[in-house]
């Protein structure tokens, strides 16, 4: 049997894939191969595996069929399509053209640079051997045997790796601070409490061993023999795969005592979070692990000095850990050659919103927003105009048209009033109202305040209420200044990182879209026609055919008119529900 003959089937079994039916598709392949006729045809040339997510969940179920070196990717695969793939492609040797992905799929992938996510979607995350086959765990073994902890720290410092949790603190420096504390016990924590549908589930579902390997390297560097992965209960698949991966790693002696045949002991425990946003803040996360309410405390002392149970503790984000095996394998020079002056390596970004190819991508630091949105993302659907990108999650800010060519890194995003945060990007188009956007994020931020300090607990609530007032036509002169003043005070006086950034959406939308605020306040008008209270619905007599559909659908009976003659909306009775606008077949209902 030659390599050319080998056929590998990879079915996406990430959360997106599973929801779309990935489990059933995988089973359908297995069933098909078990059938005697097919078996006789293909013998043991063919393997079938579930793999992690490759970042394009909208196209699920995605299936790769690899014959020799030739990879064919199919999209939207359902179990009933499997028999054709088996018969025509695997047995017959002719790929099924009509199921194959299109050009945009390849464009989406080819413009990325996958390091951390490279093996996600390529290897079976539930098989430790699959990770070993791509060189997994070789780096940590070599590290334990050939490097001192301090050499690891120096190497990581040299690579320029910065924390992927959002603040971008240099990882090696943080480790050094922790390692120099005298202590009988240190801990390392993987912060997988991420709310965006981003790096955490994809990495842990798709390649959990890379996170374990990264944590082990970190633990060795700082001298921790115990690690915790703090992960949300809302990611059951990731939790399940991580559990499995930890068990497998223990069986192989990669976790536990004297790991990889060295004298170093290290083990990992999983701690499930209950979904509080603030538990991503490291001191709140520590409280949560010890069983207390997740509430941040003032720093200093920093966790590197006094963390879990008062012991020096390092908390890094999942993506940070997943970078480490690559850095140690390829060297710090290689790593620092990627990215910008201040921000090295790649960044995973969850690209969503008004963009054609929504998905999870990995690009080198310094890639421009234009490349991300238009080249990889395929631009705005339905011919709408680009307005801005909200980056960094609900506490981030927006980046407008004028900064489309901004190379994305920590400093540049901060400079334009946004942040890297979790690495999410929500694309907004001309139909998005920026006041509404700010209120949307503030609603989340104020509800997620832990309540410990008044500026965050009450201040963000008041911000939200002022925004709501503006949206509902109760905006007053001075509201913009009040929003800015209060935002500044909240940012300056809050206890933790959440309060410090919670007003960001307000500040940044005012910075770039002040005219929209002013239109709402002074002219009681929503330029994007989103804020209902400010809209007026009317019927253009020249377009109305008098069909009466709108009048029938109006919940308050505000539309009147004689059959076959133009109808009218009584604006004093209208509740601005928009039903008429949605149902009119002749586009005769307008809103203004």
């Amino acid at each position: 049997m030659t390599v050319e003959n080998k056929i590998a089937v990879h079915v996406c079994n990430g959360t997106g894939g599973m929801v779309a039916g990935g489990g059933e598709v995988l089973q359908a392949f297995k069933d098909a191969f078990a059938e005697s006729g097919v078996k006789a045809e293909i013998g043991d040339r063919c393997s079938v595996n579930g793999v992690g997510c490759r970042g394009l969940c909208a196209r699920e179920v995605l299936v790769d069929i690899t014959v020799g070196d030739e990879v064919t990717t199919y999209q939207y695969i359902q179990p009933d399509m499997v028999s054709r793939l088996v018969e025509e492609h695997i047995i017959g040797g002719t790929p099924v053209e009509e199921f194959m992905v299109g050009k945009d799929y390849h464009e989406f992938l080819s413009r990325q640079k996958k390091i951390v996510l490279a093996d996600c979607g390529r290897i079976d995350p539930e098989e430790i051997d699959a990770y070993l086959d791509v060189g997994g765990y070789s780096v940590v073994e070599k590290t334990l045997k050939t490097m001192s902890p301090d050499e690891v720290i120096q190497l990581v410092k040299k690579s320029g790796l910065r924390g992927r949790g959002g603040a971008g603190f240099p990882t090696g420096v943080k480790w050094e601070l922790c390692a120099k504390n005298k202590a009988d016990q240190r801990y390392i924590i993987c912060n997988s409490d991420e709310g965006d549908p981003g790096a955490v589930p994809t990495l842990i579902e798709g390649n959990p061993h890379s996170v374990i390997e990264g944590m082990t390297i970190g633990a060795y560097a700082i001298g921790a023999d115990m690690g915790f992965v703090y992960i949300r209960t809302e990611y059951p698949l990731a939790v399940e795969r991580l559990k499995k991966a930890i068990d497998h790693a223990r069986e192989r002696g990669f976790l536990g005592q004297s790991i990889h045949g060295s004298t170093f002991d290290f083990d990992i425990r999983i701690k499930l979070g209950a979904g509080a946003f603030v538990c991503g803040e490291e001191t709140a996360l520590i409280s949560s692990i010890v069983g207390e309410r997740g509430m941040p405390r003032a720093k200093p002392p920093f966790p590197a000095d006094e963390g879990l149970w008062g012991k020096p503790t390092i908390i890094n984000n999942t993506e940070t850990f997943a970078n480490l095996p690559h850095i140690l394998r390829n060297g710090p020079e290689w790593y620092s050659s990627i990215g910008t002056e201040t921000s090295k390596g790649t960044k995973i970004i969850a690209l969503t919103g008004k963009v054609r190819n929504a998905g999870l991508i990995e690009v080198p630091m310094g890639t421009t927003i234009r490349e991300i949105v238009f080249d990889i993302g395929g631009g705005i659907p339905d011919g709408k105009l680009f307005k801005a990108v909200q980056t960094g999650g609900p506490c981030g800010g927006c980046v407008p048209q004028e900064h489309l060519d901004l190379p994305v890194d920590y400093e540049n995003l901060a400079r334009v009033g946004s942040m890297m945060g979790s690495g999410s990007m929500v694309v907004l188009d001309e139909t998005d109202c920026m006041v509404n956007m700010a209120a949307f994020f503030l609603a989340f931020n104020q509800a997620e305040s832990c309540g410990k300090c008044p500026p965050c607990r009450i201040g963000t609530k008041r911000l939200f209420e002022i925004l709501t007032g503006i949206m509902e036509g109760r905006g007053r002169k001075g509201d913009i200044e009040l929003l800015l003043d209060l935002s500044a005070d909240i940012m300056d006086s809050s206890l933790c990182g959440l309060g410090m950034v919670a007003p960001n959406p307000v500040v940044s939308t005012i910075r770039y879209f002040r005219h929209e605020y002013e239109a709402h306040i002074r002219h009681k008008r929503c330029p994007a026609k989103v804020c209902r209270s400010l809209l007026t619905y009317f019927i253009r007599a020249d377009l109305c055919r008098g069909c009466g559909v709108c009048a029938k659908g109006c919940p308050v009976g505000a539309i009147t008119g004689i059959k076959k003659e133009p109808h009218r909306i009584d604006t004093s009775a209208c509740v601005k529900c928009g039903a008429c606008y949605d149902t009119c077949k002749f586009n005769a209902v307008l809103k203004e």
């Binding site: 509080a276 603030v278 309410r293 509430m295 405390r297 003032a298 200093p300 104020q446 509800a447 997620e448 305040s449 832990c450 309540g451 410990k452 300090c453 008044p454 500026p455 607990r457 009450i458 201040g459 609530k461 008041r462 209420e465 009040l482 003043d485 209060l486 005070d489 300056d492 006086s493 809050s494 206890l495 410090m500």
Partner: protein, 349 residues
């Protein structure tokens, strides 16, 4: 010792001290709501923010340890503005019913509103409206007045180890709650109430008893119950005890138990004996008498018994409740006046 500069004044304090401690040593007033030197640093209220040279944001002085050559500013326009905003925010979610509040005049929030002259408030909006339904007989919990300083939670945990209350919910709905929001079920030591800076925790025992009167008299004395000897302060209006608390700077650090804090009603009890009583006939009733009559009767009968049966036919039982002076005089009376050592007290019981 660590040397630092606060508001252009040099101070040296011991290592591990917080900036707030150092500032207080210089008698610089920094407002606080959540700070209590008896509890662990918390940093929740954000009023004690100060600026440190070289740091981009203000820090809470109650949680930031001093460092050598640190340069601290505790008061400037920016800090004033931040503190004022925080107070405005707190007051925008507070009933502000000081006219009828038990804690008026003894309320940190009220004091601060006064210092900062907060007549107007830029902020208004939704206010918390929690129902009060706690049936415990000691502590009135009005969570609408709570500023979430967390002192009650911390004292219940750090000092008492009872953990009867904790934070619950998030955002503006955050509140201090008992498990499952049931009635408070704890030791009722009232420590929570004693550290509360507002009217959120007051006592049902002395509600409406006249805390706000100008003629309340404060008397430092010792608790009449167990042998711990806790210092208490009696609040009295004319000849009625209206409240008990304990100063934080004494041996028991201001902590009391349910008896010491709430068990003073007996002093005001209508059942108190107010006149000598004499049983004039064998098996008759006890009837009121004058002091003269009672003392004469006792003196006569004691002398009579001593004459007929000797001094050892008389005995005295002193008490672990009365003062040293009284116990001393009592045993002296038996030994010197009656002439017997038949004197004991309840230590054996």
């Amino acid at each position: 010792m660590i040397n630092l500069t606060i508001d252009e004044r040099k101070v040296s304090v011991k290592e591990g001290a917080m900036i707030l401690d150092a500032a207080r040593e210089l008698e610089i007033f920094i407002p606080t709501l959540c700070y209590d030197p008896r509890l662990k640093p918390y940093g929740g209220c954000r009023l004690c923010l100060v600026e440190i040279e070289g740091m981009s944001r203000p820090v809470s002085s109650c949680t930031t340890p001093v460092a050598e050559r640190m340069v601290v500013t505790t008061h400037n326009d920016h800090l004033y503005r931040l503190r004022r905003t925080i107070l405005e925010l707190l007051l925008s979610d507070h009933p502000n019913d000081c006219m009828v509040c038990e804690r008026a005049g003894d309320c940190t929030l009220q004091d601060l509103a006064y210092f900062y002259g907060l007549r107007d408030n830029r902020f208004r909006g939704e206010m918390r409206k929690f129902e009060e339904h706690d049936a415990n007989p000691f502590i009135q919990r009005d969570m609408n007045k709570c500023v979430l300083c967390g002192k009650c939670v911390r004292v219940c945990d750090e000092v008492m180890g009872v953990n009867a209350i904790d934070f619950a919910y998030r955002g503006l709905s955050t509140r201090i709650s008992t498990p499952y929001e049931k009635d408070l079920d704890c030791e009722f030591c009232g420590q929570c109430m004693s550290v509360c800076p507002t009217g959120a925790l007051t006592s049902k025992v002395w509600a409406g008893e006249g805390r706000r009167r100008m003629d309340v008299k404060y008397t430092d004395t010792i608790c009449p119950y167990c042998g711990c000897g806790c210092n208490i302060t009696l609040h009295s209006v004319r000849d009625r005890i209206v409240k008990v608390n304990s100063r934080a700077d004494n041996g028991n650090k201001g902590w009391l138990c349910v008896k010491g804090r709430f068990g003073y009603e007996f002093v005001n009890s209508p059942d108190r004996l107010t006149t000598p009583l004499i049983r004039r006939e064998k098996n008759g009733d006890l009837e009121p008498a004058t002091w003269n009559e009672a003392i004469s009767l006792i003196a006569g009968r004691f002398e009579d018994i001593r004459y007929k049966h000797g001094p050892d036919a008389l005995a005295g039982l002193a008490s672990g409740r009365v003062t040293n002076e009284e116990n001393y005089a009592f045993q002296k009376f038996f030994r010197a006046v009656i002439g017997t050592n038949n004197i004991d007290h309840c230590a054996r019981l």
